[in-house]
């Protein structure tokens, strides 16, 4: 797995719970305290060691930790880039959701080794959707859910999310969008503000 994902987890833990907490996680997970490098490839099992260690030290279930991680990716100020890149997918939350299937392709376009979860969106009508995601490690659906929650907030959309568990095709998330017209999206300019 590309270190970018591992490193995101590392920064989520140190930004949220402090550097000392991260050092403890690293100790328990038996990895270097300096952590991961974004552009190197790591064994898949390392990310699970990190999540398990953090979950044990915080006495919190993996699932809720992973959901927070998804929200962190979009909403933390040090990661404005992720939010901006996601915003390129659509002008409102509905469009954004519809573009989720393109996500792995968009990732590969920039970093061929970045394996984002495969998504499949099913429109049930009336603003109700089912999003299925399949990924290299269990619980990715919870990260996606946290990410969707934060993006909905960014678009100013009222959205109800529910993790329905696993089926044959992967983890299933139920998405219910309330009337989109009522909400104003946070402004978004296509051009980077820096020169």
């Amino acid at each position: 797995m590309l270190g970018l994902i591992n490193r995101s987890f590392q920064f989520f833990l140190s930004d949220t719970y402090g550097v000392e907490f991260w050092e403890n996680v690293a100790k328990v997970a038996d990895i270097r305290v300096s952590g991961f490098e974004s552009m190197l490839i790591y064994d898949d099992k390392l990310i699970n060691q990190v999540i398990d260690a953090a979950s044990a030290l915080l006495r919190r279930p993996r699932e809720s930790l992973m959901e927070d991680m998804g929200t962190y990716l979009v909403s933390h100020e040090s990661l404005q880039t992720v939010r901006r890149l996601l915003r390129f997918s659509g002008v409102n939350f509905g469009e954004f959701l519809n573009s989720m299937e393109e996500l792995p392709e968009r990732g590969r376009l920039v970093l061929p080794e970045l394996e984002l979860p495969e998504m499949e969106l099913c429109d049930l009508g009336g603003g109700h959707f089912r999003l299925r995601c399949r990924a290299r490690f269990a619980g990715t659906g919870h990260i996606v859910m946290g990410l969707l929650r934060a993006m909905a907030d960014d678009y100013g959309a009222l959205v109800l999310l529910d993790h329905l568990g696993l089926d044959a095709g992967g983890e299933v998330i139920s998405v219910q969008i309330a009337d989109q017209a009522l909400y104003e999206a946070r402004p978004f300019s296509l051009g980077l503000s820096v020169g």
Binding site: M39, T81, F88, V110, L192
Partner: protein, 347 residues
Amino acid sequence: MPERGDKIALPVPLEAFDRLMPLHLRVNPDGRITGYGPTLAKLLGRQGILGHGLFEAFEVRRPAGLTSIVLLQAHAGERLRLTLRHAPRPVAFRGLAMPLAEGAGMILNLSFGIGVVDAVRNFALTDGDFAATDLAVEMMYLVEAKTAAMETLRGFALRMQGDKQMAETQALTDTLTGLRNRRALAQLLERLTQSEAPFGLMHIDLDYFKAVNDTFGHAAGDHVLRWVADVLTGEARMTDIFARVGGDEFVGVFPDLTDVDRLTSTARRIIEALSRPILFEGRMCQISASIGITTSVNYAVPEIARMQHDADEALYASKRAGRGQAQAYPSGGVVRDSAALDDRRSA
């Protein structure tokens, strides 16, 4: 061949043109601009170019010499390169012109091409300014994603460089004392001899150090060695380098200092400082040092091995003469430690 569908001219409402091609431009048979799409309007600002001649508003750069509507008709369907002169600053476009039905003039569609990134910034365009089929937004996405990826790589490169520098420093440092090690010394001497810069060389060997180690143990020995390093560093000018090259052997290199008297007095101060008792965990450790000196000006072509050999000769002459002394090559000036000197002066 499959059926091509419509065989007659389509009655297309202007609104459809505007939505399908927000950067298009309509020209009448005289070459006057009769209308344009909303994104082009945004670029042109309030003044606009309605009724202007197409070739006044635009310079057609490729194909060259295309300056009339008749010529443009002749190049219908070809790729054009044009520059809009009337915007706040010139904007380059790619374009394609096709005749309208029944000699009603021409329609010219434009694209920013690779300049889309600057155009988006300069004119604060949004995804609503591009047709839903346009890949401009994907282009912007790519630019931004690439920038972020490059940023990440740069951070990675900087961390790697930092690690490399640290590794290099560690590879050149004696871990116990923090002085340079044998490798660093070899590099320095090679640099000095290659650049033919004059320098002084001092070999320092501790006296009675083995006794400290044997009597008080290695912890005391390490303490003494660190203290020796402090003494040497205290005697060094900014440019002087001291290296630990063996258990209790040190080398000092003094760039641009070849005055034997000055080197000898430095050596004397070092011996004097090192001959003071050192306290370690309530015990007194007593050492001294013997020093041999040479300078690059003693040689027509300074050779490292030769210089080190001669400095060693001088060092062993000091040892033989009773330790706690400094001698310079070529033999001559024997200098006892300062206490002995004072004795001699007062005698």
